[in-house]
Symmetry: C2
Subunit: 166 residues, 2 copies
């Protein structure tokens, strides 16, 4: 990877943990659970939560260096889907109506993700630059997860009947 020429000395970057300290957040806890549930062979058992989430962090410099040509990596698409799955499960905990994700992601890096509870679309996101999916820090990751959860929760509270419809 070409490292962009920035004012920040490399020493600082090494000293601060990548992504910053892991915040105490329901969303972070939920996302960790979702990821660990995929670890059927226990390969990540020894990984700390921050290491497990490390790939969610993409700094502004890294973002600039990321190519948006070529297909997004399957691991990246997987990470994105787990992110929305975690929102859906946290919504479920808070409202009693779990929201399940469906996504359609084109290999050119755009697409759509929805979270569905019953007959209600509780969240609908059109995506672009999937190649660059990531967050500046763990704080930013937690904040975005919580924001989307709150948005979806409000939608369910406004249309509870539809969210429970089969």
């Amino acid at each position: 990877m070409t490292v962009a020429c920035t004012a920040t000395p490399a020493v600082d970057a090494a000293a601060a943990p990548r992504g910053g300290p892991l915040p105490r957040s329901d969303f972070i806890r939920q996302l960790v659970q979702v990821l660990r549930a995929e670890d059927g062979w226990g390969a990540w058992e020894d990984l700390a939560d921050a290491d497990l989430l490390a790939e969610y962090v993409v700094t502004a410099e890294e973002r600039r260096d990321l190519p948006i040509t070529g297909d997004p990596e399957p691991e990246l698409v997987w990470r994105l889907e787990q992110f929305y799955a975690a929102v859906g499960l946290l919504v479920g905990r808070r409202t009693g109506c779990a929201a399940s994700p469906m996504s359609r992601i084109h290999w050119e890096g755009f697409g759509r993700v929805v979270l569905i509870a019953g007959r209600l679309v509780v969240l609908s996101h059109h995506l672009r630059d999937v190649h660059r999916f990531g967050f500046a820090s763990f704080d930013a990751l937690a904040a975005e997860g919580e924001r989307l959860t709150a948005e979806a929760t409000a939608m369910i509270e406004a249309h509870r009947e539809l969210a429970r419809a089969a």
Copy 2:
């Protein structure tokens, strides 16, 4: 393909067009349009509508002979998605709210298809035996398409505000 031993003589099968005569139906017309829109190279220009739709016909005998092991063919999954896309477009013509399909189909042959208009899930189907997707005749194809369109249309009429929500 192993041909099942049936009472129907082969002569009759050859005489009757496969799938029966093509019914006059809004749904059939819409499905043909959807398929022809995919024909960017004009490869199917000389095909009659009935030939274009021929693969949607799977008789009871054929269904029995279809293996449900192995991944469903990409062409089959494509056909299934075009079927729901046609429902979504016909719904759009009738209600002014086009419904777009999203699907998640597992390679073992089960999955889910939804049609979404705005924030409303106007149709939600859990699928199994995707390998055997098809209809006994063109009449059956038209009837099922019309039935789903009616179901989705009723859903939109009952929740028009949500169907128009962004």
